[in-house]
């Protein structure tokens, strides 16, 4: 197992971080929450240009191949910058279509996904809703061993994270059926869990960093609140949770890359640890910002509200813990 990143991988993540940092993501998130998808789609195109979606698309369809380590690195950055949209769903749909063994479906969608022209939502396993069905070019719905494609959906439901809008997919036409669907869906769920775990990790890192700089500057009782031990210890615990979730995410990506039989368990473990660490970081951020943390105007609220839905998406902690115990 390779535990360290290569220089290329590190540079890739750094470049993505720089690009997203300069993209004014808070405004994009607020627009997305209001149902205005234009700035989000523009950012989506830039992500595609940076190669993010190609990481889930094989070379013969215009991508770079399924590269789980790079995928995890980029989703850490997407989480760090709170980028909205069905990002996980699109790469999971790509992984699904790639595995399905249908050349026509793969040929229709994968090049467009890699190029950032197609935004897909995927509904497989967890719950009745498709994320951002109204923003997606198509929704794929897996039920048992069939998969349907649909463009229609019920009314949009807002969630605890206003930028996370869901809807029930309606109708649709069956595009594939059989055991290949089940197998491809299992693989897609693994990729979705991995990407979600990485997103939680990045989200948590951003929340911790923002909170550390806040507590250094906010003064109460004539000293920075960051000098109080109760504050310090809470932040130390937040760092510990993130630091120990990180290698789990990395190892899960390696296991998926290797197609290891242990991948399902490794991914589930990473999802639990990163989801809880990200959620814990949000709780810490809220608490240590005091009432300021409880305000919508503060950009940090965009990060805080993502943490819980991400922790629960694509397999709740309970589901993932059960998966860990299966071995």
């Amino acid at each position: 197992m390779r535990f360290l990143l290569t220089d290329e991988q590190r540079d890739f993540a750094r470049a993505l971080d720089g690009m997203l940092g300069a993209s004014g993501t808070p405004a994009v998130v607020r627009a997305w929450a209001a149902g205005e998808h234009k700035p989000g789609r523009a950012l989506w195109a830039r992500l595609a240009e940076a190669g993010v979606f190609g990481l889930a698309v094989p070379e013969r369809h215009g991508g770079a191949g399924l590269l789980p380590v790079e995928l995890a690195l980029s989703f850490t950055e997407l989480g760090r910058h709170a980028v909205p949209g069905p990002l996980v769903e699109t790469v999971a749909a790509a992984a699904f279509l790639e595995r399905l063994g249908s050349d026509s479906l793969a040929g229709e969608w994968l090049p467009r996904i890699a190029a950032g022209e197609a935004v897909l939502s995927l509904c497989a396993g967890a719950g009745p809703y498709a994320l951002d069905a109204d923003a997606a070019d198509a929704v794929l719905v897996v039920r048992g061993d069939t998969v349907c494609r649909t463009d229609t959906h019920g009314p949009v439901q807002t969630t605890l994270d206003p930028a996370r809008r869901v809807a029930r997919p309606l109708g649709g036409t069956v595009v594939a059926r059989g055991p290949a669907v089940t197998a491809a869906a299992a693989h897609a769920i693994e990729v979705a869990r991995l990407a979600t775990a990485a997103q939680s990790l990045g989200l948590g890192r951003a929340l911790l960093a923002a909170t550390v700089s806040y507590v250094k500057q906010r003064t109460q009782f004539r000293v920075p609140i960051g000098s109080f031990q109760a504050v310090k210890h809470r932040l130390a615990d937040t760092l510990i949770a993130l630091e120990f979730a990180q290698p789990l995410v990395h190892a899960a990506a390696l296991a998926v890359a290797a197609g290891a039989p242990s991948a399902g368990r490794e991914v589930a473990a990473a999802k639990v640890a990163a989801g809880e660490a990200g959620h814990g970081a949000a709780r810490t951020a809220l608490q240590l910002h005091g009432a300021l943390g409880y305000t919508e105007e503060l950009d940090l609220s965009l990060w805080i509200r993502k943490a819980r839905p991400l922790r629960d998406a694509w397999g709740s902690p309970a589901d993932c813990r059960a998966r860990v115990l299966t071995g």
């Binding site: 535990f3 031990q229 130390a236 510990i240 860990v324 115990l325």
Partner: protein
């Protein structure tokens, strides 16, 4: 730098596994915190050393195999997975030896390391004092210059296994006029049977008698027992402390082995246990895996020459492994129900009471090697850059 397991690593693993399979005692040894167990463990250390498994990472001239950091981790994994005995020599091999490799003289290494590796001389750590625990730099035991050496006086306490150990290493105030408490400290080794030393055993929470306090009354030690320069003791001690909190004291093998045993225990009665316990078993497994991977990543960085190596990051390890250890054992006791409480010497104790014994011992984890409160301060100040507060 790539840290994949090489063919040589795998061969090393296989050799260690085979040796352990042939040598680990079928019945666990009595606790090393008792006189009887101490003697039995000394003998085990002797067998380990005879086949050069006692200190695999040391150079061959001192009885090691010159194993890499990664191979050392592999060995530890195999060691604990095989259910091999805890190391009675641990204070020596894991704290004093690294300190001697870094700061000792050639003469000291030649004299001290061999007998340590063979379990002939067992070492105790004499740092804490009745008035100096977390605030270790406030220690008062003195080293006073005399002809050809030093006279040690004062009181040390909470010294693990000092009731049965042969020698001790500790910090002494050699310059009472130094302006800051961290200055003027000297790191010294001394025999526990020297004239002027009184050892008083203290029973521990687990009923084991191996803890001790040491009373020192003008105990003479020659200059050759000073580690590093006189007056530089604090700096040297802190490098030891980093090792204690970090990799060397608690290698991941301990926890991954315990997590596998816990998962096996849960599989025996998953329905009886209920989903809430299942979640805790899963979390313990995830924690042990996270600790293992974190350690491997860390080791990879050290091998790749990242000078950032350990340092304050060892505090992350310390808090994590100590809390993980408690969670692992508490979950096991809950799974065992009424049998979980049976002490290791009770006939009906499951798996020779190792869960109950391990549980009580795990409770000390957040206290020794620097309390977790102190570690969280270090994390906050040194890793997150938060301002120092009042101590």
């Amino acid at each position: 730098m790539d840290l994949e397991f090489t063919a040589a690593d795998e061969e090393f693993r296989a050799e260690a596994r085979a040796w352990l399979a042939g040598h680990v005692p079928a019945t666990p040894l009595p606790s090393l915190e008792t006189a009887e167990g101490f003697a039995a463990h000394r003998e085990w250390e002797h067998w380990l050393a005879a086949d050069r498994w006692s200190v695999v990472s040391w150079p061959e001239e001192y009885g090691g195999r010159g194993a890499s950091l990664l191979q050392w981790l592999v060995f530890e994994e195999e060691y604990y997975a095989a259910g091999a005995p805890g190391r009675v020599s641990q204070n020596g091999i894991r704290l004093l030896a690294p300190t001697l490799f870094e700061h000792g003289t050639e003469e000291q290494r030649a004299r001290v390391l061999g007998p340590m590796a063979r379990g002939e001389v067992i070492w105790a750590q004499a740092w804490s004092e009745p008035e100096s625990g977390s605030d270790l730099a406030s220690l008062r035991s003195a080293a006073v210059r005399t002809d050809g050496g030093w006279l040690l006086s004062g009181q040390k306490t909470w010294s693990s296994r000092a009731a049965f150990a042969d020698r001790a290493f500790g910090l002494f105030r050699s310059d009472p006029d130094a302006t800051r408490p961290h200055q003027g400290l000297t790191y010294l080794m001394f025999p526990l049977d020297a004239p002027g030393v009184t050892v008083r055993p203290i029973g521990r929470l687990d009923g084991k008698p191996a803890f001790a306090e040491l009373f020192l009354d003008e105990v003479f030690v020659p200059d050759a027992e000073v580690i590093g320069e006189p007056g530089q003791g604090w700096r040297i001690a802190m490098s030891t402390a980093g090792k204690e909190r970090g990799l060397t004291l608690r290698s991941p093998g301990r926890f991954t082995a315990a997590a596998e045993r816990l998962t096996a225990l849960w599989r025996e009665a998953p329905e009886g246990a209920g989903p809430a316990l299942g979640d805790r078993v899963a979390d313990a497994w995830i924690g042990a895996r996270a600790y293992q991977l974190f350690t491997y990543a860390h080791a990879s960085r050290i091998v790749a020459g990242d000078a950032g190596g350990l340092g304050a990051e060892s505090s992350l390890n310390k808090v994590f492994w100590s809390e993980l250890d408690i969670a692992l054992h508490e979950t096991a006791l809950d799974l065992l129900g009424p049998y979980g409480m049976l002490a290791d010497d009770a006939d009906e104790a499951p798996a020779h009471g190792s869960w109950a014994e391990g549980y009580t011992f795990s409770l000390a984890g957040p206290i020794y090697a620097g309390t977790n409160e102190i570690q969280r301060d270090i994390i906050a100040e040194r890793l997150l850059g938060l301002p120092k507060g009042r101590r």
